[in-house]
Amino acid sequence: MESSQADMNREIEAAAQQPGGPQPKIDYPPYRSSVLRHPKQPAHLIDPESVELWAPAFGHRDVADDEADLTIQHAGTPIGERIVVTGRVLDGDGRPVANQLVEVWQANAAGRYRHQRDQHPAPHDPNFTGVGRMLTGPDGTYRFQTIKPGPYPWRNHLNAWRPAHIHFSIFGSDFTQRLVTQMYFPGDPLFPLDPIYQSITDPKARELLIAQYDHDVTTPEWSTGYRWDIVLTGTHRTPLESDVEENA
């Protein structure tokens, strides 16, 4: 008894009647796989201590410069719309998160992941893996070049499609700021239909996941550009100037 998109839309609307605030509701039945995978007990609030006040350090030995270009990982050029995505990683007090690791992964232009479990019958692109890594600069800037991912079907309900997105994994300057999320593209018609995006029931909060088209990032005769700033939660330890040098 698979739900239709119309059933799903009703469930999404019903869930939005009990707003869960600016974070995703981890108890969100419209996302079927979440039902048995979310804790039912409230999280226990503690003051972070020892290692929780610090984040792992990454450096240039961890990440090569060319890992920020997803279009040059094979002999040929990948098919699709070449884009640059850039922005700053900031902590909750507006301070840049410098020298920290950003990991991204995504489907190709046809909406297919290079992953064994992706059975969507769309073509693989022999010239596209869909994985990138980079370190933020001194002002928190990250930047990578890629191909705009396509939307793809999944089996949450009948005719379920994910809006096009890029997965992001981000570290802050303390352990508690760890974030894994998804960046979306402006104006996607699939937004209202997608239970993963809609699991954030506060519209202003979920819009923080949408990159903005930025013509200043677009380059002539080459690629279009998107800007997406990533604000983490606040640090519990006042970062020192020396943090940056230590990580360098």
Partner: protein, 187 residues
Amino acid sequence: MSAVPGQTVGPFFHLGLEYPGMNELVPPSHPRAVRLHGRVLDGNGDPVPDAVLEIWQADPQGHIVREPGSLRRDGWTFTGWGRAATDPDGHYQFATLEPGATEPGRAPFFAVTVFARGLLDRLFTRAYLPDDTDALATDPLLDAIAPDRRSTLIATREPNGLVFDVRLQGEGETVFLTYPRLRDAWA
């Protein structure tokens, strides 16, 4: 400033997050290597085969490590951080060193982050070493947890290491943690 919300790591995280040696903070042949391992289970007690755990820990002397090199391990530098995906049985494992107490008399622990397909936001918890019963008895976090749930935060010892299972939901549900700045950001 408004913090960006999380989203699930999804089913295809292996593509972006896996790399060689990610779960070997030290080579398994290291004379002091221990195996930290366990299973991730759902609300039915079934294995979660598409979860990913990260650990972040002090070194055996209780020092907080500031060394890069977790992505390209050189076999000698202990970085204190690692990542492991679960297998089809929901099992994960790390080769690591046991963390020391960062302050005298405190109970050493691994800080643990959990991600999974079906889990819309990451979860934080701790895996304490089981040995220093005096320190465990006076630990402020454990002391604040109902006695019947404390054991979910304490690894158990076996001959070559430590076992720490994560139950996402239901009977024996792991105690997950939140922190003041998270609460304030999303108040």
